[in-house]
Structure formats: structure tokens, C-alpha cells
Symmetry: C2
Subunit: 308 residues, 2 copies
């Protein structure tokens, strides 16, 4: 008997979590979709049955075996400690606990061994981080990393349903915004800070990561232009071989690539346009579905490994 | 008496050239708009008068004092040598002559002194190159440059009118494409090769420039995420001071920035989100109207200086 609570079930990521649980035949016997007060009473379908969304209450969370949370940082801070204390295992997609040294921050293909100790609270990384580290890890293992620079092409869905709706205007309103989230005192946007810190924590490296995060007018799918500097001399053929054999990613070749639109609804992190830059450098393009591998799918994969 | 031919007058850049000539009170006494056969006979307004677009013929070009050409590489290769031989001065927006060592490639604010010798043929750089070198040149003068990495966010208008029309679909079709132009044997896209070579030629440096050029679904305005490595130690305050005093650009501050939509119809290259990265590095965002400073305006500025 496994009861799974999805907290934030009516949001873009929450709905994708339900889809992933269903598609992957996740071994749950009872689903409890929860949401903020305003969305309580809404109905959604899961495995052919209608479920009524309940208002999120601590008791419901504590009674679950597993909580998949994607209702924002404040809701996670308030509710997940209570759920853990009540005996639930929680996977949190918010940023609330990601940098907490007690909480593992996990991409199963990269540092899944953090789950072997069966932690009761696991943080799901930021969407841009997940697709980046999926490609960095095999390169780190083969060449060592000395620095990373990344320019992102982040879709509207990463900013939630309202941003997605705003695309339905005229082309005159489509714009590119080189600031994702508020800027801190060091002039870094929130998304850039997340990408830099989370990458270091997941890889377990004091790696200089410099990100310029940009919102672009696409619906779903994030792209990244990435430059890495490596400790060992770069060998393009070896880099491609290493990327081809790595879990969770698909190499589209040195010349090939996947666009954000092409990765929508798919599970793999795609890497292409792979080129050597200088003696110790590699440049490449990465794309993934930010709602799936960037959020819901990675959370469900964490849960599968925790319960497996 | 100055007769000006605009070759390719019905295209996106050609029409912008007419606007720039008009807005800036360019000292011309006669305008001759030319286009490919299919567009001959079309009418357009200039300074309140209607002009009939003529089919491009060598005789018309050779009879002009000045030719502003933006009708593609093949038309320029075929027609401009005849125009020059006939005594015209030509400013060419195509890529036909940009890398020709005999032909200056000019951004007036950067290497305008190339025009002092009154060359009869001058090449106008690629749109992405113009906005990049406008910012690189003051940084080069102050710190020296050792390498440049740039990820572009290029609008549909850079691919012509048909690409612009394609934005008028549904948001489901909006996509980001990390390849602008065909790839060469070194896996570089045509736009990347232009950006790298032209930047070196304009700055007169054997500078390593590595570009990943990406088309994004915006109408007008190109963005660039840029990382530079400098020879001298980076001083952020000095960098900002230098950028503030440089011609043709506007610094939006360390935290500020301009979006592509905001620069549409404007003349300056905008630079913002300026940050130090490491001891010898600077990261920043650049945006400019690709049809104006990136093409038509820069060509007209070259012409002004040639005739001035």
C-alpha cells in the first residue's frame, strides 16, 4: 500500500508529475492531489478515475507514504517538515531546501547514490541545473572541469501558467528578457545563483560556474549554450563517446541538435552542436523539457529509487 | 547633386535604409530604388513622394554617386564591381566582400578611420558582429582582449520577411534553433563563422572568438550573452566607465538591460547586466536593432562619413 500526495497538483509541474506517475506505472495504490485553497475542489483525472483536489493540510501530508511537492517555497517550508515528522518521505521541487547541507539535491543519473541512505527529504534541483549537470557529469569524469559558462534560453512555462498564457498575444509582444528572477546584491539573478550553487552541490565541486539566464518566448523546453574548460586536454572524439554512453542524455551528434519544441514531452536531456574550443575547452548545446526532466520526471525518478 | 541607389529597396533592410536616409536628412538629391525583377514596378514613398522601384540594372548603379546594397551576396558580386567601375561608391550589406582584404569592413565608431582613404567599396558587417564589436572595442582599448565567447539571441527579421511572417502562427510553433545558416566542415554555422572572422578583421586582432548563434522567436532586435577574457586585470568600475564613454553604445548599468523589443527602432547598441567573472573576465548582455545599427543605419553612417 503506497499513498502518494502530490502537493501543487493543479500547477504546470504538478500536472506533469501526475502524467509521469501514470505513464511510468508508479507503484502507488492511492493518489491524493493537494493544492492551495483556491484550487481545492477542482477535479482531475488519474489512471482513468476522477479525483477531487483537496486543500493542502498537514494531516493529509503526514498520512502519505510519499509526498511530491511543487507548490512553491513557502508551502514547502511550512508543510514538508510536518510531513517528514509524520513519517512521510518527501521530494521537494521548490528551492526551499536545495542548499540545506542536510538535504540531498539529486539528479539520479548524476548523484543518485545520495538516495541509498533513504533520506526522508530530498530536494529536486532547478530545471536549468538538471539538464546542465546531466551533461557536465560525464565530462567531469572523463576530463575534469575547471570552469563552466552557460547562457540559457528558458521557456515561458518555467515561469508558470500565467507566463505561458501571455505568449498568446501578437508577435509584437514576443520578447527576450536577460534576467530570470530578482537580482541580488552581487547583480546575479535568482536563477543564475541557483544554477551556479546547485551545480556545485550536485557535482560536489568548487567549480566556477557563470550563468547568464534568459527567458525566451517559447512554450516548453529550455535550451542552454554551454562552454566548459577542462583540466585534461580536450579530445572531441572522446568527449562524444563519453556523452553517448552517459545515462539520461542523448547525443545528437557534433552537428545535430534538438530544439526546445522537439524535446517537449520527452524524457532525455539532448546534447548537440559539440565542438572543441581551444586546447581545454568544449562548447555545446543542451535542450530538455523543463517540466519533465527539469522538474516532474526527475522528482518521480528520485521517488522510484527511494521506494525501489 | 547626389544620386543614391538603394539596391534591394523592397527588402527588410532596404526599407530600413530608406527610413534612415529620410530620418537623418541624408544629403541626396535623387533616390533610385532598385530591386530584383519580381519587385520591379512596386511603389514606395520617400520624403513624401512616391517612387517606382526599378529592376536592378548595371547602368542605373553606375550612374549613381552612392549605392547602398542589400540584395544578397549574388546580386552584390554581380553588380557592385560594375557600379564601382562606373564611378559609384558602394556600401554593401551582403557578405560578398566582407572578408576581401582589399575591402574595408567598417563600423564607424570602431574603425571609421578606414574610410579616410575614400574607398569606393566598403562592406557593412553582419548584424551580430556590429553590436558585438561596438562593445568589444572600448574594452579592448582599456584592458586588451584575449578571448571572446558569445551566445546569440537572433530575431526572425534577421532571416528575412518570410521568417518574420512565420511568427504569426500559434505559440505552439514558436521555437529556438541553435544553428543560423548551414554548417561548414568544421561544424560551424555560417553566422558563427561570420561573427568570428568579421570581429577579428574589424578589431584587427588575432582574437579567439567562439560563437554559438541561435535564432529565437522575436520579430526584431538581436541579443547577445558575451564573456570576454582580458589581458589586464578586470576592474568593473573602470569597465563601466569605459563603456559609458564609448560612442554608439549606451550602458544600461550593471543591473539594467534592454530587451530586443525595447531596442526596436532605436539607434544605439545597448549593454547591461555587466559583471566581472574571475580576475580577467567580464560578462554582459548586448542588444541592438538588427535592421538598424545591425544593417541599414550602419551602412548609412558609413555613407555619411564617405561623403562628408
Amino acid at each position: 500500500m503506497t499513498t502518494v500526495c502530490v502537493l501543487g497538483a493543479t500547477g504546470l509541474v504538478g500536472r506533469e508529475m501526475l502524467r509521469c506517475l501514470e505513464e511510468r506505472g508508479f507503484p502507488l495504490t492511492r493518489l491524493v492531489p493537494l493544492a492551495r485553497e483556491g484550487d481545492g475542489g477542482r477535479r482531475l483525472r488519474f489512471r482513468g478515475e476522477e479525483h477531487v483536489v483537496e486543500r493542502a493540510r498537514p494531516a493529509a501530508l503526514a498520512a502519505a507514504d510519499l509526498v511530491l511537492a511543487s507548490a512553491g517555497r513557502d508551502a514547502s517550508r511550512k508543510l514538508l517538515p510536518l510531513a517528514c515528522a509524520g513519517g512521510s518521505t518527501c521530494v521537494d521541487n521548490s528551492s526551499a531546501f536545495r542548499m540545506d547541507p542536510e538535504v540531498p539535491l539529486v539528479v539520479p543519473e548524476v548523484n543518485g547514490e545520495c538516495l541509498d541512505a533513504r533520506p526522508t527529504l530530498v530536494a529536486n534541483p532547478n530545471c536549468s541545473t538538471i539538464q546542465l549537470v546531466s551533461v557536465l557529469e560525464p565530462l567531469r569524469a572523463a576530463f575534469g572541469l575547471s570552469s563552466v559558462q552557460v547562457a540559457t534560453y528558458q521557456s515561458a512555462s518555467g515561469a508558470g501558467g500565467a507566463a505561458l498564457d501571455a505568449l498568446y498575444g501578437t508577435p509584437e509582444t514576443l520578447d527576450v528578457v536577460p534576467a530570470v528572477g530578482p537580482l541580488d546584491d552581487d547583480d546575479r539573478a535568482e536563477e543564475e545563483v541557483k544554477l551556479e550553487r546547485e551545480t556545485r552541490k550536485i557535482l560536489g565541486l568548487e567549480l566556477p560556474v557563470d550563468a547568464l539566464c534568459v527567458r525566451v518566448p517559447t512554450r516548453v523546453g529550455h535550451g542552454e549554450a554551454v562552454w566548459v574548460r577542462t583540466e585534461e586536454r580536450m579530445d572531441l572524439a572522446l568527449a562524444c563517446e563519453v556523452l553517448e554512453g552517459a545515462p539520461g542524455i542523448r547525443l545528437d551528434g557534433r552537428r545535430g541538435f534538438a530544439t526546445p519544441r522537439e524535446v517537449e514531452g520527452t524524457d532525455l536531456v539532448r546534447v548537440g552542436r559539440v565542438r572543441r574550443t581551444g586546447e581545454h575547452g568544449l562548447c555545446f548545446w543542451v535542450a530538455a523539457d523543463n517540466l519533465r526532466k527539469g522538474a516532474a520526471l526527475n522528482a518521480v525518478q528520485i521517488a522510484e529509487r527511494l521506494l525501489g
